[in-house]
Every structure is written in structure tokens, then in C-alpha cells.
Symmetry: C2
Subunit: 393 residues, 2 copies
Amino acid sequence: MRIEAVDIFYLAVPQLRDIGDGSQDMALVRVRAGGHTGWGECEASPLPTIAALVTPPSHSACHGVLDSVLGERLDDVADIGRLARRVAERGLDLLQTPHAWSGVEIALWDLLGRARGVAVWQLLGVAQPQPRRPYASQLFGDDPQQTHDKAVQVVAAGFTAAKFGWGPYGTGSVEADAEQVAAARAGLGDEVDLLVDAGTVWGEDIEAAAARLPALERAGVVWLEEPFVAGALAAHAELARRCRGVRLAGGEGAHNTHLARQLIDHGGVGFIQIDTGRMGGIGPAAAVAGYAAGRGVTFVNHTFTSHLALVASLLPYAGQPGGRLCEYPVESSPLARGLTRDHLEPGDDGLIRLPEGPGLGLDLDLDAVSPYLQEVEIVLNGQTLYRTPELVP
Amino acid sequence: MRIEAVDIFYLAVPQLRDIGDGSQDMALVRVRAGGHTGWGECEASPLPTIAALVTPPSHSACHGVLDSVLGERLDDVADIGRLARRVAERGLDLLQTPHAWSGVEIALWDLLGRARGVAVWQLLGVAQPQPRRPYASQLFGDDPQQTHDKAVQVVAAGFTAAKFGWGPYGTGSVEADAEQVAAARAGLGDEVDLLVDAGTVWGEDIEAAAARLPALERAGVVWLEEPFVAGALAAHAELARRCRGVRLAGGEGAHNTHLARQLIDHGGVGFIQIDTGRMGGIGPAAAVAGYAAGRGVTFVNHTFTSHLALVASLLPYAGQPGGRLCEYPVESSPLARGLTRDHLEPGDDGLIRLPEGPGLGLDLDLDAVSPYLQEVEIVLNGQTLYRTPELVP
């Protein structure tokens, strides 16, 4: 097959709120080749991502993504890796490249699976994908009472693990943060795993983060996520040395395998969290999963948007030991929720499983999300470089 | 002062060639505040950079750059640092942010210097900026003879150091590369410093790079630049261990201080090369210069476009010991060359010096580059988000 078309769609909810909810807009990618269609999602700012796909080149190491993809062959899994290298080399100096390529890469896996009538996990050589224990991923409440109520809700919904993050956490006093964490623990009870996400709030301020550790240790928190920005390796390593039971988690900001490996090699993280919609798709994320496994670090997915993105995020560690946690958004926007007809609902055992169907195994509901479609046009010297395509299967 | 306007211009030469020459287009930034104007240049793909400036937000950690800058106060040097943190936090998940912010940051320094009637090096607390020894930075010839002729030319032009990079180097056999390096050395003679830039050609293939070391050692090469992609720390460190006289150089791909520090801490580089047009401007680059100095690593600028970018790239180490090398493009496009009326020409001693005038100290020739202006329009739901502004002082 040859890659005939790559289209990208910018969707957004009408009243976007200035909160840490990444499901409020979407950069959705459709690829066509050999009469087949595949879909993927970039976890990325849509407009710069569109521009990174369609821009004219600046020089030999600064090409738009489409320039390196359109017309290329896609016959085998190896072609996806070859295209990934081609895009990385020719897009080296275009910083947005990995975010833009991620959705394309995922769509190529979806397409190849559909063309062959097999699931992507089969293409990845996984005999039997392992079930995952979903943790309810949500924002902290505005105050401890709200957080407590949210915790009670997710327990009632059957979750055995829950993560609270962002919101006021880390922005006020050490005591206020301790109250938030205690409220979450009280609401969850003693049996449910509690995870805390600081959303890089302390930059690289080790003491600010360390001051929160006693409350996290008291509440038996499994991991403290993103205390610092992803590149602050020395700060991560020093904080990790000060932890007793709590372990550090991070990696969602990694937009290539090197950044993820550095957190593992030099950051002292216990959990490496990869978003396939940012780090260049399923292939490089699977490489990180393998790298982590060899170093005693637990790979977990990062995702916060649609179930299309959720499936893509689960694939890189589909063959790794079962029962492990996975991120599972519970406060997604109607846009993110509406994108797929099928959803990965926890089974009677509380675990979620990858779909069996071809490709990513999900049926999209384009009619449901078409009201969110944004009409974009980019014109360069009188020539239309991009105009929102028709959102059809 | 309040920041009243930030405008960006996409300029490009008409016949862009698919070679490693980053001077063929330009993302030029103009900032206005308090009746003053400052200019800066992003070393970045212009169209995604424009989009990263003007895009609507996706969520609280994914804002367009202008959203975090327009209307903000600019009274002091500290405001530039404050804005840098604000942009980084609110643009955390927009990958293109550092490239887009870089030109704005540089323009803010230029503006603040002009408003106060002092040079930016004075704002940086440098009493007397040190002269630099320019190395002629150019591409390898298509064959050894061409490279030899280029070397002869730069010696005739008075340069005491020259760098050859990209082109065929690293793409063919070890022997072919050895011939290129030997031709460069023969053309330069024994007295001129020779630097070699591999342009990340070996990805992270240590053996491919190591196979080139004997020829580089024979030719007395000062540094081998970017044998690998910036994130491949372990590969850098291992290659550094195998070097005898040659040292490794890298860092132009670093889009934040963390990535640069990692190359210093874990990559074994002897020279750290920072492009202020990519890593978030002059402020963070100066921080890296200080960090490097404390660790026995030599900071040098990376730049390949206009003399506006050249001046910005020299400022972060303006106060560090004199005589040190600096990158000096000798094959720039008429666009890059034409942007400024003034140029930093080597003096009788062969050294270049920062301008004394206020701000960046350069006078732009907008008429000269206006033929290169690209007309861009970005429309979102019928509303114009961006249209190429008038290119006036």
C-alpha cells in the first residue's frame, strides 16, 4: 500500500475552561492507504500540530511531517519504524514534530491492523494482552471536602485505585496539601490505592516537594507523579532518595524515548508514564516499556482524553505482567467520551481489557463529535495549505 | 511599560534547497512596549511557530505564547525571567513553545536595552564583553576537492578556525569521511583549528561514530559535533570515553536548560553549544553558560542565520574568558545577511566584538528583506487569528 492521504481535525468543546483537563480539545488524525482507513489522536495543541504537518520545509532537517509520509509505502510493521526514523531525521529542528507524528503513527498501526484483519496487539507480537487495573484519574477538588466526595464516588463506582492531581495541590501551603491528601485517603478508605499527581508544580524546587512527603507517606500514597518538570533529573533523583514508601512517577512530558530513558537512568523514578500521543506513538512507547522492564521500573500508560487514545496508550505494555495499574480518565469531556461508540469498561473483576477487533478495535462515532469540529484555514501566499477536511469515515 | 504588541514575520528565500542551511527562512519577532520596539529571531520552523504564538488554549498547561505575554509588565530584567516561567508553565504541553518564545525573549532584551539606552550585555551585568575568535561555519563540499577549496578560501579570508559539517559526511563509508576530513585539514594548513559537525547522522550508533575517530584524531580535530541526537546521553558518554585528543560538542538541539545540563552531566561533552533562538532566549542560555563554567565544559554559541541571531547567541557568554571560539556563519542566505545593516566583522586581530549600541545594537534593514516576506493567514471559525503584519520598524 501507499499512504494516500493524512488528514487532521481540530475539535474542541465550546466553553473551554482554564483547568488541567486535557480532554477539552482534540487533534484527530485520519490516514488512508490501499482502500483502508486508520485513526489516531495526538495529545497536542491542535493548531501548531496542524501547522507542523503541513508547513513547507525550512531546510533538510526541518520538514513538515506530511512531506515525509505522503506517498510512502506501508506494507509491514517495519514500515512504521522506517517512517518514524524518516520523520525524526527530516523533522529534527521542528520541535512540534513528535507531537504531530504521534497521531499519524497510531493511525498507521490502526490502518495496518484493519488491512490485515488483526488487532494491533497482534501486530506487536503479543499472544494474549494482559488485563489492567484501572485507576480513576481525576483532578483534586477545590477543597478537601470536594476531594473527599470525589473519592467516595470512585469507590462507589468500583475502582480499586484512584489518582488526584493538579487543581490547588502544591500551590498553597504544606498543610493545605496535607489536608487534601488526607481527605482523599479518608474518602477512598484503606483498601483503595491512592496516587497523587503534582503536575510539575514545584518546577525543580526539591525542598518544596520534600515538604509534602510526610503527608504522602502517612496516607500510604503509591506514587507521587511529576513533582518536577520532566528534564529536572537531578531534582527527581534527590527527591527519590528522600522517599520511604512513596515512589516517584513521571514521563508524560517525554516526547522521545531518550527523555523517558533519562528519567529511568538518572531520575530515580519507580514508574514511567508514557503518552503514546506525545512520544511518537506506539512503537517508541513499546521500546520504553521494554527498557523499563530491564531496569526494575514499572511502565504505566499516560492518557487523559478519548478511549481511542486510551487503547493506544495501553498497547505498548500489553504483553507485560497482568494486574498492573493503568490510567483511566473518569472526568472526560463529552467530546472525548463521544469519539468512540465502544468504551473499555471495567469487567466484573474490575479490570479492563484491550478490544479484540482489528486495528485499535474501536468504532468511531463521527456524527457525535462533528458539532465540535473547528473550521481552520491556513493560507500561504494565496495558496491554501490546510482547510478542515470533511469529517467522514 | 506594558507589552502592547508581539508580531511575527515569516520570511523565506524563493528557491529553498534541501540542504543543511538553516538561513533559508526566518521567524522574525517584533515586540512593542512603552513606545519602544525590540526585535528577535526564533531559530525555528516559522509556520508552527506562528501557530504556537496565536493558538487558542487547550487547557491550563497548554496556552499559546501570546496569551501569556500580551499586556504583561516589562520594567526590569527580572520581568523577562518572570515571563519565561509564566510561558513555560502555561505552555508546558505545547511542544513548540520554547522555539516560539525564544524570539520573543530576545526581542524583550533588545527592547529593554533600547528603552534604557544600554546594551543588552550591560543589562546582563557584563562590565566588558570579551572578544571571540570566529570559526568559519560551513557545509562540507560534495567531494573532498570542494571541501579543500572551501578550506583554502576561509584561510584566505583570515579565519583561524573553520568548521565543516553535514553534506555527505557520515552518510557514506568511513574512508570517504576520512578523505573529507583530510581534505579539510590540507586546505586549512596546520595552523588553523578544524572542527567537524556530524549533524546527528549516526543517531545513537556508537560504533559508526567511533569508526570515524582515527581520521579525526589524525587531523587534530578540536571537536566532533553532534555525532548523535541530543538525547542519546549514554552514546555520547561512551564515545567521549573513546576519544583521545578530540572532544565532543553538542547542545544545539537543547530547547531548555535541562537538556543542556544533561549533556554536560551525563553526555561527556567538552563543548556545550547553545542556540538562544531555540532554548528560550538569552536568559536560560546564560544560565547554561554559568553551569558549564562550573563543570569544566566550554560554552560556545550555536547560530547559523542572521547577525541579529549571532549577537543574541554571543550574549550568554559575553563575560566569560576572552579568545574563546564562536560560531560565525560564512554561507548565509541573502535574507539572513540582508536583515541587518551592521555586521560583526572580524577586526584586525581576527576577533569579533559585540556592538556597543543600545539593545542588541544592530540596525535592521527591513526594506532589504521585505521581498522575502511570506503572506500568511490563519482563520479559525471565520475569525482571523493571524495575518502577516506590515514589516515596518
